[in-house]
């Protein structure tokens, strides 16, 4: 993929995600991603919760020391009550889709899953190489990820923006049961 198409793709992704009430950033490197995180208003309390064993996750684990360097306390997700309404959570996406501004999360373990379900702001990292134009790619990935075997992913979500409702008088309200904000950082 050329630089040009990546940029176009990112712009489309960003536009769609913003339309869904989310936020998208582009980072040249993990260091830049750490900078974006550290400067984010959702981290004023300087703490973030991550899935267990995130430090071993390729290629994302390396961001944890960078965050620590920037004065951010990192906690590992445990039982749901402890993660509930945590100001910020960080996890990683399998891929991203420009057409809809979505990310695909595929975590089997509950503590990893609830980082994207119960925190107030959810940050997700995705590799630029896994940003695809159309949902068809999500379809193929789903087929792959749900294939029987030891690596089968039982719980996969396409997430597009923060949780929302328009149930009362069709007034759009952001942040119902899930996070109030979603911030995706696409890392080159």
């Amino acid at each position: 993929m050329t630089m040009q198409t990546t940029t176009n793709l990112f712009q489309r992704f960003q536009q769609r995600l913003e339309a869904a009430g989310g936020e998208a950033h582009y980072a040249e490197s993990l260091v830049e991603a750490a900078d974006i995180l550290a400067a984010h208003p959702a981290l004023v309390q300087r703490e973030i919760v991550v899935p267990p064993a995130f430090e071993a996750r390729q290629p994302w684990g390396a961001i944890l020391p960078m965050l620590a360097e920037r004065g951010i306390a990192i906690s590992e997700a445990g039982d749901p009550a402890s993660v509930a309404d945590f100001p910020a959570g960080l996890s990683s996406a399998e891929l991203a889709i420009a057409e809809t501004g979505s990310i695909l999360l595929a975590e089997n373990a509950l503590p990893a899953r609830i980082v994207s379900m119960l925190t107030l702001t959810h940050f997700a990292l995705a590799q630029a190489g896994t940003l695809y134009p159309m949902l068809e790619e999500a379809g193929s990935a789903l087929q792959r990820l749900t294939a029987p075997g030891p690596d089968q992913r039982h719980y996969i979500s396409l997430v597009t923006g923060p949780s929302r409702t328009a149930d009362i008088e069709r007034t759009l309200t952001i942040g119902v049961q899930g996070p109030r904000a979603l911030c995706v950082i696409i890392v080159e």
Binding site: R113, I114, Q143, Y155, I156, T160, D167, E169
Partner: protein, 778 residues
């Protein structure tokens, strides 16, 4: 634990339920009356419908523009239709594959034949595991099986965690809309319910505060519940995966936190592959809420967490019966997007509770009889005005209006036809009797028409107060739209001179070649089928049609044997008389075509065109009368409507000698798209181009030009309140343009709208397109 949660979900007590007019245990009339008197709901729905239409259209056209024709609504809906049809046809294989894959991933699959079996399975599971608190995310099938009720009667608390569903539960009501459960409630009502449930004062105005309540209140339930019950938007056979689409985030918590997750889904949710599912999720989000995709689309393949259980309850409850029916199996394609409710004009007037059961709108009218019996569907089906709008927006191309008529004829078969209808249709099916009857009425009506074109309420005078049967209902009807008078001389008595004059002139033109007008080159002959309204009520419309056609150089013939096409009977579920009229009409038209060597059969009533060209084939398919079916198909190819015929002639270079406006003030017109014109025949630009380009008149679009005027055949008689509101909206929209002429090309709408204008005394002329053209000719 349970005492702490008591205020959240007060049990549905028997008296409360009986007192609740939104409940299906109330008779249809009671529900309808309640719905019609609910001003809040009415206002909310009236605001919602147009805004949904605009945003839905916007999202689909955006996608098409960005990604090309493969992502157009039309293309995607036909793709999904094929995928869902495949799933219905190959259901046994898909079920087997789904079960195999889901089981391999660790899920337990249970197949429930009935609602009771499904409910019992879940209850037994609770029993076995000692569960007394269940959290739920939106599950329409559980509403269908009345699961909450079932569990609560057995001391198991079921808490709805979707905001709207929860509020409905607190109000002891059923959701009134498949996607927006409490569209009928105001924020004040929601605030009051939440305050009562939580025992503290919650704002009646601040929606954000109200939404925040649910996060706090439900957190405890999520952490304490022994079971989470969810629905499914799709069951993906290739991998045994359950797909669920939500916006609030409660769905993911329901399916993640409790140790037991139960999915309830109908067999109709099966789909073959992930690739097909991507098309479904696009269409569903876009059709339901005009989102490109919902916030959370979750794919669950067996339990993810060691020690957790996942049960999938596949529910039949009438679906096999649907699948076995050659027509109704189409309804199994439904993805529950509610587009067919959002677009439905009567729905916008009465809301979902009048429909009685969980599935409201067009699809509700179709499937409710299968899930809950024909009696349950008998009242609600009468709301349908056969406007066909639902079929145009359904993302899986379900022929909803036709299926609703099938339900209607089953109701008529079971319960019989109203005696007035029986009398009228019986007469209409006998052309000679009908002819004599209408002529007699045209004389007898004088006391109430006083020689005018209308039967007016005020003309009844003392007569209207007498306790005569059917006079009072008639006065009531006429009070909001004057009824049409029968013409003293029907069109059939008037056409002879008009047709002969043309033949004479034509003969002269032929011998004097330099007098041949440019228009005469094509020399088409059309056989004019007027339709009974034009013939008996509005002969002047028919004369205008003939005049305009002749001016275009078209030879017109008028078979005197013509009678009603059968539409009123067919639309009322009276197949017997309807089929009789259809057969008569086919014979008559075949003969007329032969005798006059006509190129086309033309009608200026788009309702008649749709009946002859579309409904006949369906009728004879259903009756399995192959001979008639063949004849109907052949005839269908010959039938054209006046509007598109004229537009085509003009496009091919035929010139209309249009009067130039000199000094006259500009005439401003507005156009009403009759349902049959736009939804059945797909006409939109034709009439507009005639008015603007050929006549050179100003045309101002009215808001919601293509929404039903409320005529809807006999609905305006059966549900006068609904029809009156639709008419009121139509005339208000028409007047808002400042136009002085309201144009349409279907006599039924013209009749309805003229009646309304006559009552409210507005200065609006209501004309058939042909009349407008005829008026503008030199």
């Amino acid at each position: 634990m349970s005492t702490e949660l008591t205020p959240l979900t007060p049990p549905r007590e028997a008296q409360v339920e009986n007192a609740n007019p939104t409940n299906e245990e109330q008779p249809f009339d009671v529900r309808l009356e309640h719905a019609l008197s609910d001003q809040h709901m009415h206002a909310a729905l009236e605001r919602f419908a147009p805004s949904w239409r605009d945003s839905r259209a916007g999202v689909f056209s955006y996608e098409e523009q960005e990604y090309g024709p493969d992502y157009s609504f039309q293309h995607m809906r036909s793709t999904l239709r094929q995928a869902k049809d495949y799933a219905t046809e190959h259901q046994p294989e898909l079920v087997a594959r789904f079960k195999e894959m889901a089981r391999a991933a660790g899920a337990i699959v249970f197949e429930a034949r009935t609602a009771e079996e499904a409910n019992r399975y879940i209850y037994d599971l609770c029993q076995r595991k000692g569960i007394d608190l269940v959290v739920k995310s939106k599950t329409m099938v559980s509403e269908e099986t009345e699961l909450n009720h079932y569990l609560e009667a057995r001391q198991i608390r079921a808490v709805e965690t979707d905001l709207g569903e929860w509020v409905a539960q607190l109000a002891h009501e059923r959701p009134s809309h498949m996607v927006m459960p409490i569209i009928h409630k105001t924020r004040q009502q929601v605030g009051a319910l939440l305050s009562e449930a939580t025992g503290r004062e919650i704002s009646r105005e601040d929606v954000a505060e109200q939404v925040a309540v649910i996060r706090v209140e439900h957190r405890k339930s999520f952490l304490n519940a022994g079971m989470g019950i969810s629905g499914a938007n799709a069951l993906i056979a290739e991998s045994g995966t359950v797909m669920m689409m939500t916006n609030e985030g409660n769905g993911r918590l329901v399916t993640s936190l409790p140790p037991v997750h139960v999915v309830m889904a109908g067999y109709d949710k099966l789909i073959g592959t992930f690739a097909e599912t991507m098309t479904q999720l696009r269409l569903l989000a876009r059709s339901a809420t005009a989102q490109h995709i919902t916030s959370y689309t979750t794919f669950i393949t067996g339990p993810a967490i060691p020690g957790h259980e996942m049960h999938i309850v596949l529910v039949d409850n009438g679906r096999s019966e649907m699948r076995a029916d050659p027509r109704f199996k189409d309804a199994l394609r439904c993805i529950r997007c509610a587009a067919c409710a959002n677009i439905c004009p009567p729905y916008a007037q009465v809301g979902g509770h009048a429909f009685g059961y969980i599935y409201s709108g067009a699809i509700g009218l179709v499937v409710t009889p299968f899930h809950h019996g024909i009696e349950a569907g008998a009242g609600p089906q009468s709301l349908c005005v056969s406007c066909n709008a639902c079929e145009t927006v359904c993302p899986v191309e379900i022929p909803l209006p036709g299926l609703i008529l099938d339900v209607r004829s089953r109701v008529v078969e079971a319960k019989g036809l109203h005696w007035i209808k029986k009398l009228v249709f019986g007469a209409m099916a006998r052309p000679r009797l009908f002819n004599v009857a209408t002529r007699l009425i045209s004389i007898a009506q004088f006391p109430v028409t006083r020689g005018s074109n209308f039967i007016r309420a005020r003309n009844f005078g003392i007569l209207g107060k007498l306790p005569l049967p059917y006079i009072r209902p008639m006065v009531k009807l006429a009070s909001w739209h004057s009824l049409p008078a029968f013409a003293s001389r029907p069109l059939r008595d008037r056409v002879k001179r008009q047709l002969e004059r043309y033949e004479r002139r034509d003969a002269i033109d032929r011998v004097l070649p330099d007098r041949v007008p440019a228009n005469a080159t094509s020399r088409l002959t059309v056989c004019y089928f007027a339709g009974c309204m034009t013939d008996r009520l509005y002969p002047e419309m028919g004369q205008a049609v003939i005049h305009v056609l002749q001016t275009c150089g078209v030879r017109v013939t008028f078979p005197l044997g013509q009678n009603c096409c059968g539409l009123p009977a067919l639309n009322s579920g009276d197949r017997r008389d309807g089929a009789a009229m259809a057969r008569q009409t086919i014979i008559m038209l075949e003969q007329a075509l032969k005798e006059s060597e006509a190129d086309y059969i033309l009608s200026a009533s788009t309702s008649c065109v749709a009946t002859i060209a579309q409904d006949y084939t369906r009728l004879f398919e259903d009756l399995d009368e192959q001979g008639w079916l063949r004849r109907a198909r052949e005839l269908a190819g010959k039938v054209v409507d006046f509007t598109s015929f004229l537009e085509r002639m003009l496009a091919e270079g035929v010139q209309l000698p249009v009067r130039q406006e000199n000094g006259e003030a500009t005439i401003v017109t507005t156009y009403h798209d009759s349902c049959q014109s736009c939804n059945c025949l797909g006409l939109r630009k034709e009439a507009r181009s005639i008015i603007r380009d050929a006549l050179g008149l100003e045309l101002r679009e009215m808001p919601q030009a293509d929404v039903c005027c409320g005529f809807g055949g006999s609905t305006s008689i059966e549900h006068g309140d609904v029809a009156e509101r639709l008419l009121h909206n139509k005339l208000r929209n028409a007047e808002s343009t400042g136009a002085t002429i309201l144009v349409a090309d279907n006599p039924g709408c013209l009749m309805h709208m003229r009646g309304g204008v006559d009552v409210n005394g507005k200065k609006l002329r209501v004309l058939h397109l042909a009349q407008l053209v005829a008026e503008r000719l030199e």
